[in-house]
Structure formats: C-alpha cells, structure tokens
Symmetry: C2
Subunit: 228 residues, 2 copies
C-alpha cells in the first residue's frame, strides 16, 4: 500500500523519498522508484510531509521513530481514534488519515483526512487514483468501514471451520449457496493478508469498547486471522 | 413458528394438540386451530409425537416438562449439538430437528432432522411447506446457518452504533451504500425478534467454543440483542 501511495504522489509531481536502512530486499524492490535518503534521520531533514502507511501494530513505533520532525505527519493507518490521538501527541502538525480500498494503482480508493492541515494533504493527491476526502474523524471512518468487511470475512472463516469440525460443511454449503463466493474471497485474502489484519481487528475492538459496544466480534476476528 | 408448524402437520392430515394450562391469551389465539388437551400431562397421554419449538433458552425446560413421554420427542429448536444431547438423554426416542427459514406458512423452510426415527418425522410433513431433510446432525447445521445470518445482523447493528457515537454515521453510510438494506432489515428484525435470539447466539457461541473456534462473535451478538 505504501509504495502505491508513493507512486500516486510521484505521479502528481511530488518527490518521494524513502529510507533503506535496515529494510528488506522486498522493500528495496517496492521502493525503487523513490529517492533513497538512506536513514530515517536523513529523510526527515529533507521532506515536508511524512506519510506513515504500515500495519497498525507498528503505527506508534513509526511515529516515535520520526519524533521531532516539524513537517506534516500523516498517519494513514488502520488505527483507533484513541491510538490516533497518541500519535497526534507526538507530532504537532498531525493529520489523521484512513485509506479505504485497495492500493491506489487503480481508481476506487479513498484517503480520508482529518485535522487542521488535512486540506494541504488532500491537495497533494487531488485528481489521482487516491481520492482525498476531508472529514471530521478519518480513523473512526476507517474503523467502522473495516469492521464489516474484515470482521465478516473472519466470521465466515470461523463458521466454515465449525461446520467442518462438526461434519456438516457440505450440508452447510448446500444451505448457503450465496456464501460460496464471499467464503472463497475470505480464504484467499486471509491466506495472504491475514497476519496484517490481526492488529487492525484489535484496533477495531478497542474502538468498539471505547464507546460501550461489544469488543468480542473483532477480538474473535483477530483470533481467526492469528490462526490463518 | 410453533403454530405454523402445527398448521403444516394439520394440513397433512394429522391431529394437532396443545396444552392451554398457564399459557397467555396470545398463545390461545395462535393455537385456536388445535385441540386443547388442557394440561401437558394430559397431552402426552394422547399424542404419538411431541414437537418442541420454543426459544432456545427454554428447550431443556420443555424437554423436562414431558419427561417420561414414550413417543417420539422432536426438538426443533436452535440449540447446540451439546444441548441437543442433553435433551436426548431425557427422551429415548429423540429426534433432533433444526428449522431453517421463516414460519412455514409459505414454501422455503427446511426442517433438518437427525436420529433413528428421523424418517418417521420427515414423513409427517412431506409435501408441505416445511420441507424435511434427514441429515447427520440437524442441530449443527442450524447453528452454522444461523451463525451467519443473525451474527452478521448483530455486527452491523453494533457498527452503526459505534459510527453514531463517534459522529461518523453519515460518512460511514455514504462509504457503504451496499449495507443500507441489510442494516434496515437488521433493525426491523432485532426490534421484534431480538430477545429470542439472545439464547440462540449463546448456543452458537458454545458450539464454536466446543470445537476450538472463537466464541466471541456470538457472545458479542448476544450482547447486541440483549440491548435491543
């Protein structure tokens, strides 16, 4: 997702930097279109904006790694509104972001943005495949959006597992032909991306609990993705 | 559901009895087409088959109330396979049932049946709106079937609540137009039938736990229906 967002910004005429220090060969491969600032320390000296796009469990660590940066810090991660406030506390010029949709190599992805400088960030990608949308609480929208898509996929995987273990999988599939396609999709997605959704499900669970709604749906979903 | 099942059996030429003792005016109204045996004690003396169709939390109490009955006892309730075994222990001629679909006043409802005398029960409603289907584990199929329909409805209600409390309900609805119709359906259903689903969600949670899958989805769903 991060590399694809970088390409969008580059395509809009902005220079995109990355820091190769300590990163894998796969990341090198993905980042080859961008200028290598070598270290994060070096990178933050040169850029006006930092985009954090990473698995949610790493969001706070990434924010800490660039603490002291005085440009705009955009957290584009699937984190709870509470976690977003923790990140905001580290970066005075904080913009909360939430990406809904696949990597913006194609149209159909929205970048929700909130905060005093949200419009500045929106302008960076306007007219691109990453459609900016300035709203009141980007993290909240991301949480309730992903709560359904990834929460129901996990529930479906768990149901299939229960049906299998009780010896009624075939009968269940016969009774629910409308679930064949979503189940196949959930199986494919969890096999490749499930590990990244564990943290996201936990962020959603905490978001639910914070407003007095049951956290159990998404704690269970995290368990399913942990097992996948 | 019970009255509708009674009408199906009646329509197939069988005599249907009920016991009015201690029952509400609303139940009287629903049961008016059936012969009143007055008490349960009287009823079990006269009938060959007892059908239990009640909210799941009452299934065991109903089974206990007719203990000693020597005909076929059909439990048609949304109970876990473990609970079904508890009921089976009370009735030697036990047939496990699971109803999938609405009240069989119209076609499209399936009565799953399991057990040594399942075929006898299937014959009672063959050719009716209540389509019998003899399988290996009726309760298991009912559990995994309802896990999805009522589990996702509860999740959707919880998400709407979270979106509302975080002030992003409108934005969430804009981002998920495909959920408008299922949400409206979930709202209508939970307002009228939610209380009956609390026990069903708990039976499903126990079924999941029994085979090592997360119980949290349906414990959370029970919480949602408890609050509805």
């Amino acid at each position: 997702m991060g590399a694809s967002v970088g390409r969008v910004l580059q395509g809009n005429g902005h220079e995109v930097l990355w820091a190769s220090e300590g990163r894998s060969a796969a990341t090198h491969e993905r980042a080859q279109a961008f200028r290598d600032a070598s270290s994060i320390r070096e990178l933050v000296r040169e850029v006006d904006v930092v985009f954090s796009v990473c698995p949610p469990h790493a969001a706070l660590d990434v924010a800490r790694a660039v603490q002291g940066f005085d440009g705009i810090y955009v957290d584009g991660n699937a984190i709870s509104p509470m976690r977003a406030r923790e990140v905001a506390a580290l970066h005075p010029r904080f913009v909360d972001g939430g990406i809904v949709g696949g990597p913006p190599d194609e149209p159909g992805t929205t970048l929700y943005l909130s905060g005093a400088e949200a419009a500045t960030i929106a302008a960076l990608c306007s007219g691109s495949n990453l459609e900016p949308r300035v709203i009141v609480d980007a993290s909240a929208v991301k949480m309730v959006y992903a709560a359904w898509s990834k929460g129901t996929a996990a529930m479906l995987l768990a149901i299939r597992e229960v049906a299998q273990r009780l010896g009624v999988e075939e009968e269940w599939r016969l009774a629910t032909p409308e679930l064949a396609e979503p189940l196949a999709r959930a199986e494919r997605a969890s096999a490749t991306k499930g590990w990244r959704w564990i943290g996201e499900m936990e962020e959603i669970a905490e978001t639910f609990a914070a407003v007095g709604q049951p956290a159990g749906f998404h704690r269970a979903a995290a368990e399913v993705y942990r097992a996948s």
